[in-house]
Symmetry: C2
Subunit: 189 residues, 2 copies
DNA sequence: AACCATCTTGGGCACTCGCCCAAGGCGAGC
DNA sequence: GCTCGCCTTGGGCGAGTGCCCAAGATGGTT
């Protein structure tokens, strides 16, 4: 019944990844250290560099993993929407769950920023961003929204921008901005 | 002709603030240290804590000063626009000057992030954000754009989001997104 | 039982960190 | 000339950093 060494090893890896996500959010990407990671994961400090090449590599894997999970939720959620108004409602509801200072918001902005300085991370994040846009664009195209690709780009950026601004101004809720954002769905010309 | 001690002191302060802006951009907010600041400013390390209470205070003053300057350029620039299309053109032109990895973009995102963890900084940044929005909203109201306040909010957030996304995907230029963004200017109903 | 791969431990190395402070200019005002 | 106030110097303190590594534990394979 007792797990094998390899299984325990994988468990430690997972605990370190979880701890990394927590700590990026709490302290900021650059302030996550070997020893704090180990302590949070309940593990000896030496294990960090046994399971990962570097702290940077651990943070990268943790952050991209979390973003991948979040991105995977978008497609199925969108599939439930029948009209553009419904889709916007879904996006706004998810926006309202991000206050700009909650874990997921901070993780995203921290990772965007880290990606601006790390080409390898940037490539991964760019891929996730394109994937998110593609899912949104596909839905828009199926529901006859004009310029689906560009519209998806603008919507995605607006959402990330709004999340960032909400940290400064919490009055920016989905309810308030829905009427304006709805305009981008309407026919061009 | 030789400057007084007080004048030289003010000059050192200024050099430290300039160095701080450069280093926040190059290394990231949390990675700017006393000694690197002093070296970049061409000044002895001890002067950092003579002229400022802490490194954090120096970074805060440097970043908010730079943002204040940038925000002050918006009003006059907007005044030159006669139609919503022209105003959007101006905003898009300024967007194109920010690649997402240029100094100003990184400084803004770094500061937003630092503000999420520092209530004092957050208050200052929030004030600047509201000021920017108010200027944009005032212009929109004068030119009969519906929901000027909310529209300004969405536009401002979209621009910041687009800047952040451009670091990952440089193909997002003003030209491409102008047609979609133009929709938010049109009459509601 | 012996061996082996794998994981784990905890301390060590060389370095940097923020902040402090005694000591030393140095020009302005008396 | 002398004192006063401001600015400046450079070293030092305790703590924290990433990464390394010799040594030990554990459990499956031969």
């Amino acid at each position: 019944m007792s797990p094998t060494a390899a299984e325990r090893g994988r468990e430690v890896r997972r605990k370190l990844l979880d701890a990394a996500v927590e700590l990026i959010v709490e302290r900021g990407w650059a302030a996550v250290s070997t020893r704090v990671l180990a302590e949070r994961a309940g593990v000896a400090p030496g294990l960090v560099h046994y399971h990962f090449d570097s702290v940077q590599a651990l943070l990268t894997e943790a952050a991209t993993g979390q973003m991948r999970e979040a991105a995977a939720l978008i497609g199925p959620a969108l599939a439930a929407a029948r009209t553009p108004a419904e889709a916007l409602g879904l996006l706004m509801a998810s926006l309202d769950s991000y206050t700009g200072t909650d874990p997921m918001s901070l993780l995203f902005v921290e990772t965007y920023l880290a990606a601006a300085r790390d080409p390898q991370l940037r490539q991964v994040v760019a891929g996730l961003l394109l994937e998110f846009r593609a899912q949104l664009a596909a839905w828009l195209a199926e529901h006859d929204v004009p310029d689906p690709d560009t519209t998806a780009t603008v919507l995605g950026a607006a959402i990330d921008g709004l999340v960032m601004h909400r940290a400064m101004d919490p009055t920016v809720t989905g309810d308030v901005i829905t009427p304006v954002l709805a305009r981008v769905f309407r026919d061009a010309t």
